[in-house]
Each structure stands twice: as C-alpha cells, then as structure tokens.
Amino acid sequence: MIGIVVVSHSPRLAQAALELALAMVPGKRPAIALAAGADGDVIGTDASRVAAAIEEVSSPEGVLVVSDLGSATMSAELALELIDSSSTRVVLSDAPFVEGLIAAVVCAAGGATLADVDREASTALRAKRAQLAAAPPSPHTIEHTDTRPRDGDSPSRYRTEQVDRGGVPTQADSPLRHRSETTTSGHVSGTFGSPSPSPSSPYRTEILPNAAGLHARPAAVIATKVAQSGEQVTITNASAGRGPVDAASTMLLLSLGARQGDSVEIRGVGESSSALVSELAELVAEGFGETADGAATPHSVVARAHHSAGDPIGVSAGRRAGRVLRMPDPITEPSATETVPRGDRAAAAARIVSATTSVVADLTRRAETAQAGHARDVLNATAQLTNDPVLVANSQRRVMVEGRTPQRAVWDAVSHLAAQLGSLGGVGAERVADLHDVRDRIVAQLTGEAQPGVPTSTDPFVLVATDLAPADTALLDPRVCLGIITAEGGPTSHTAILARALGIPAVVAAGAAASAAVLSPGTLVLLDGMTGEIVIDPTPELVASVATATATSTAVTGAGATGDGYSVPLLANIGGVSDVAVAVAARAQGVGLFRTEFCFLDRADAPRLDEQIAAYRAVFSGFAGQKVVVRTLDAGADKPLPFLASGHEPNPALGVRGYRTSWARPEVLDLQLTAIAAAAAAERADVWVMAPMIDTVAEAIEFARRARGQGVSTVGVMIETPAAALMSRELLDVVDFASLGTNDLTQYTMAADRMLGSLAALNDPWQPAVLRMIAAATGGAEQAGKPIGVCGEAAADPLLAVVLVGLGVATLSMAPRVIAPVAAVLGGASRAMCGDAAARALSATSSAAARAAVKKVMESR
C-alpha cells in the first residue's frame, strides 16, 4: 500500500480533512502522515516537516503528497530536495485538497498503485463538476456562492445558516468575544453551549499578576493537575495571541510566553471540566502564590572558559574545612552523525521513555527530601519538564524518522524547543537554562555518565567543580555546603557573587589545584575565601582554628566602623523589594545600590509611571530615615531589553549601554526620574540618584540637569570607566556624589572581559593599576569635597574593604550577607592601618603582592 502525506497551512484543516477521508475507509488504511503548520504552529508550511512525514510513511510502493495552497506546494517540492529521493518514489499531487485527499485515501486503501492513486486524486473534481453541470442554469449557480439563506435552499443548508447566525463562539474567535464581556472583578467566566450535540465549554479569563508570569514551576503544576484529571483543557495567552495549547503539556504552556499582566484564557471541554477550569483560574488569579514584584532569578550562564594561569583567588570570605564532594563535569555533546539501523529504532526510542522515567523518579525523590521550599519547587518543576509528553514524543520521532541515537535525539529535541522558547524572549528565554538541565539529565541517564548538577549529601562538604552555573549555585544549602572551590571563574563571576550572597566561602580560578587528581572525593581540604589559600589534608590543629574563627565571626553586628571608631557606613546592594528584608536583617545602614532593572525585565515596553512609583516606594518604605542610592536603568547591548534594543554590536561591553541608552530614548530616563522623585517625595528615605556609565563632564551636567528638573534633590554619577576615574574632580564639581562600580572599572582598566574565566587573573580589583585608578577617583573626590562610595563587588572582599577605606572611600555597599564579615574585618583595623594597607597595596607590583602586603598589615595588629 502506498503512503500518503497531507500538507496544509493549518494543522486543524489537515486533521479535519483527514477525519473526513478516514470515515470512508473502515478497514485497512494506508499509512498517512500530516505535515501542517510551521514552527510554533503558526499558519504556514514547513518543508522539513514534509520531508519527515514522507520518510515516516515511505513504502516500496511510493508516496503521494496532497497539498493545499501556494507555498504548501513549494514546501513539498523543497522537501524532495531534503530527502534521499532515490530510495522512495514520491509524487506531488495537483489534486484539490479535500476531494483529492478523500479520493487518494479510498483508492490507496484498495491497494492501487501510486500512478493510479495519483490519477484518481487529480480527477477528483469530476464528481462535483458533473453534478453542477447537471443542475439548472444561472440563478442556482449564483445562489451557491452566496452565504445568505434564500427561498429555495435545501432545509439542511438553511439550518446551518441559522446556527452560524446564532452567535455561538467557536474556539477561534473566543478572545475578542470574551474581552468584551470582562467584568469589573477582573475576570470573566461562563459556559457557552455549542450547538448540540457538541459539549459545552466552561471557560475563565484571568490576568496574570505575578512578576515571573507563567514560568516552569506553575506550568508544571497546571500540567500535572490537568493530566491527572483526565479532562481536556486548553489555555490561550489572549494578550499575545498565542495558543490555545493543551494544558497537559508543560512545554506547550511555556510556549505561550505568558507574562505579568497578560490575559490568560482557560477553556475546558465538557461540563465535567468546569471545576478544574475554576481551580486553574484561581491559581492564575493568585499568581501561583508568588509576589507581584519578585525579583527574577539570574539565569544567564557563565561563560565556561579555559583554565586560568594565575593563582587561586578568594572571592567570598571565610575559612572552612571539610570533605570534598565533586561536581560532575558537563555532559559531552552526543555524536550528530551516528545513526541507528532501521530495525533497532523502536527499541532505541523506547529507551528514551525508560531514561526519562528514571530521571523523573530521581528528581522526585530528591524533591521529597529537599529542605528548602524553593529548592523543592525547582526540583519538582524540573521533574515535570523532564516528563513532558511533547519532549518525549519529539525525541522519539527523531529516533524513528531520522535514525538519531536516543541521546542525540533528546539533545536535538531540547535544543529545538530551547530555540523556540529563546526566540520568545523574556520569560520563555529564562527557561532555556532549565531545559538544558533536563537535556543533560536525560542524556546522562542514556549514556551512563554521572548525573549533572550538585550531588546530594546530608553531610557537610566542600564543593569542588570546574565551574558552577548560577542555577547550581543558587541551589546550594549553606548549612551543608561549607565552601566552594572552582577551577575557573573570576572574582566578579556569577559564582563569586552568588557565593557571597549565600555566605558560602569560595575560592575560584584554582586551575589544576581543583582537579580530581588533587582534590579527589572525600579528601579533607581547608579553604580561605579571603586569601584564596587552599590546604589539602590540614592538621587537626588547623581545622580546630577554623572552627573557632567561624564561631566568632557570626557574632559581629552590621554597623561599619574601624576599631578606633572611624565610621564607614556599610550599605546593601539590592535588586528589588524582595531583598529589603534580607538587607534589614543584615543590619545594612541603608542601600548603596538599588538596581532598578527588575522593574523593566520581561517587558515589551517601558513600565508606566504609576507602576514604577509603586515599585520604588515599596523599597523606599523599608529604609525610613536611611539613605537609598538608586541607579537609573542600566541596560544595553550586553543586557538587552526589548524596548531599548540597540541592535547587534560587536563589542557590547564597549557599546550603547548604561546612561548611553538615553541618547536614543531620553523619554525612558525622564519617566524613570519622575517616578523616583515622586516615590521619594511620598516616603521618608533619603533618596540619592545616580546614572551608570558616565564618561564625560558634559554627560554629568546633562544628567544632573534632567534629574534636578524632574525633582531629584541629590544627584550623582557612577565611576565605572578610567575616563570617569581620571576626571572625578571635575565630575564631582557638577554633581553631589559619586559611586565606584569596581566590576566595570576593573574590566575597562585591564581591558579584560569580566565574563571570561581565562582572564580572571587580570579581572582582579587587587591589580595595582585598578587600585591606582580608584585612588585617582577618591583623590578627585577629596579635592571636590564630595563623598565617594564603592558599590562593586570589591567592597565585599573584607581585606580589600580595608584598602578602600584607606583610599578615602566614605561608604561600602555589598550583598547583604557579607556585611557581617566585612564589618568584622574592618572592626579589627584602625584608621591608620587602613591608610597603611592602602599605601602598601598601591605600591605593590602585582595583585598577589598587594594581597600579601595587606594581609601582613592586618596580621600585625
């Protein structure tokens, strides 16, 4: 029997036409494959789907391709170029779509040859032509093209017209219709009856209130509920016009790209689904129990680069000793060329199911034992994503049709889905890291490699890894993870920043010292996150001294001052209202850096004035009577936002970013300044405002003019470039304060990309050149008589904090969790020691010498 491929612009059209055809052949049927719609199920055709469909139904008797309009034919022709056409005879039929398909299916089911089926299909219009030719002339033929009911129409035709006019909404026209019925309570609901005998379809429309939108965890919750209920539910993102999709698939739910503020429509099939629809609607309406202003979890992946040549670098203070637990190395990419012989494909495809089942079981078990609520949710969401029917089916298809190995099939299927999600931007793009985690887990299961991710352990351990992704680091439990040692990474890498935020001592760029040969699992190791020192098999006395040191450092309070009483306020770096409680608990004396990007993430356009005011007030209200330094929007080619897209740039770090984005879009900055000033007026915090990436005095004058014009009283600039550091005197003549962004100042002074682990040794604020640059800036500030603070990661290095104070820095701002260790070290120094430390560091010839010199000063006390 020949195979048949149905090519259509619309999956629904193809499905319906096929149903119509299959109703004609109750017994044996030919193999039929659909190739309908393009990627993401847009209306259109996709030649690669046509090619896959041809291969799926290929038989020695040949394959007939029946297509609908225009580009469907073109895609079918292109498909022939994509397959090995010598192995299968393929004929592209010129038949009318519906009539031709029915004729072809019936004829093929009877065992006809390809040529016969083709001829039968292409002459399928004969019946209709014959009937119309036999009908009475002109008046009737006109009536057939008219949609209005007329006298003389057949009863059945007339009845159809009445139903159409009855205004019964179909799934396709529902969003518009429902929007018009939105009630004041913010949602609409009801039950629309379709004409009997079709079932009724309960539906609800809700606005997504939470900041993260419909992300992986809630998508998994919804998919599980729907799958377990056995009901059919579809969800549509009415705001974006995406969907409807089957709510039992996490992957398809994520493909809706539903964000905060989007209108989400939930529709069930049949009365029995109405309870489930209501339950899901409540979940959406409550934002899945999440806050409206939750800060986004960082998901960008740290560049995994080569080994650094320099010495290990301490990036998160603290001395700890413990047994080594090793993080498995990243999964290797499976071969793209290896193929599975046709006869073995079914067995290979089946392995995908057993592999995903084991991974899901493992993740679920870990979720049950996980301590923290957040970690448990992440594990559960990953499990759900792993078990997604679309992912499994897509992978299996690649094994069956393309002959890929199961591991390659999973790899490709996930990459494909990740590209789809990534192209949605925003929420979807942030899920890409989760998808890659799922991919690595299934591939590891299939190839027998160690499962990726942080190994589980209830005993305390020191984690040793090549590098850590942010997601790995975020999941670490500070109660059992005593310390982190990585071969790669730099002081401003995400690992370092997150380790400091979690209060876990960390040493990065350890190179060969972190290899499995040196630090094998179970080895006792001591690390010093301040000096970068690593001691293998330390003496019991040394281990005991570490234990005491840890106990004392936790007793310190947050007020910043040297031992002889010179006050250096210690402030917090925060990214939104969710960080306020942590900052207050850490006894921060205010906020030295309030990053405002959170308010703008996941947005297609700039947030409205009232939204911004509310977001800023929420933060300001936590610091009544204290200082809050707000940084205006810091975006650009390196941190793109949809509404501030500056296009492709070869060197994003040197491109249109920070304050420079306001050149093209001044209204975004003006609106933000207005919102900050209004929020400041309504709260009792002492609000200061600064612009990122200021280079010139002219920019500072312009920013100050605009900020003051919008009602901001205290205006400052960030000093992040050598240009600004060298001009700090003149810059501070025109503004009220300055703040050193040491991460960028380091990368620009050393001309070393901070994302590259291989440049970690250069990207070190201890480099004497960087310290001299800071000294130039603080010197200028002193001449101008204006305050200068530090809000980069340098402030979080306790030893470096001593140097910064010695250089004349007035305030230090850092991740809230490191305030205590910085306060402790600062309290152990006198102001004179700080000056001495600064002088010695400035005159050192290398970063290592600078560290050693300062350490010596501190030990001399």
Binding site: A38, V42, I43, D46, M74, E81, A419, G422, H648
Partner: protein, 220 residues
Amino acid sequence: MTADTGSTGAVSTATIIAWLTVFRDLVTANNAYLTELDSAIGDADHGSNMTRGMDAVVAQVGSVAPESIAELFTSAGMTLVKTVGGASGPLYGTFFLRCGSATPAGATQLDSTAFGTCLRAGLEGVVARGKAQAGDKTMFDAMAPALAAYDQTVGRGASLSAAGVAAAVAAATGRDNTEPLVAKKGRASYLGDRSVGHIDPGSASTTLLFEALARALSDT
C-alpha cells in the same frame, strides 16, 4: 569583530553571521513596512513571517555556532524553511540552502568570486522554486539585478565592500521597478491589474537582504 576578516577582502564566517544578524535587525525594523506592502497585494504577514524566521535564524546560529560558511548557510536555510510559514520560507530557505551547497565544505573564508558563485546558486534555487521570471513582480526582480551588479563590480577589480553597496543599490532599483508591474506569481496574482501601483513585498525584503549584505561586507 573584524579580527578574522582583516585586510584580505575575504568573506568569513563572521561576515555571514553579521549579514544574517543585520538582516534580522532590518526586517525587524521594517516589520510594519513589509506587512503594509503585503496587505496591499497579499495576506499581510510578510513582515511578521520574516521577523519570526530571522529571529529563529539568529537564535539558531547563536546556539549551534556553525563553524563553516556552508554550515551557516544550511542552518539559516533550514531554520527559515521551518519557521517562516508563508511562501518566503521555502524561497528564502532555498536561497540559503543552495548558497550552502555551492560553498566548499568546511571553508571559513571565500574570496569575492567564490562568494559570487554561491549567491548565484542561491538565485538559481529561487528561480527553480518559485518559477518566476523577470517582470513577474517578485523577489527575483530585486535579486537578479543585485547579483548582476555584484558580479560586475567584482569583475572590475573593486573591493567586496564596493560590490556589496552596488548590489544593494541595484536591489533597491529593482524593487522600485516592481511598482508599475502586474503580479504574475503568488497570492498577488489573483489581483491581476489591481496589483499595479504597489511595490512587491518580496522585492522589498530582498532589498533589505542586500542592504544587510552591504553592511556586513563593509567590514571585510
């Protein structure tokens, strides 16, 4: 980055990536314009189709990081075929796929003549797929003059950068010349004489393709 193109006047993988990326930027910036042209004589989806397709191409190239020019073209072509949906999918898809098969496997640099051969193969693919001739009011009317101008400029011994600019100018002229024509292909052909007085949207996006090429070649 211009590091690996240098002063040799060669087309590198970086040039192709820049070409694709700038084309993406241009179709995105001109999304509304392309759709407006298409709404006059088509089904008003050309802008969104091309934007979706090129977004996917740039994402795919970014995630797969093809190492040779042929792989880049093939990856771009397959992605367009899968994501565009409308007739531009197989047409632009075939263009890049044929460019890819005309490029020596594994090559990471092409001189101006070899690159011209590749583009020519792409144009032949478009003709084979769409069966359009000069004056049918299609993308062919912009692409064919662009390639003729490219070949002519290279033949005079001028730089790649100059050839790119010549191609872009010729494409724009070809595009503007579609305005008085009667459409012979695609959905616009159903309109017959009513298609007169409108620029063909396919020729407009093809002009953007060559504008993007000119910008990418300006770095070689």
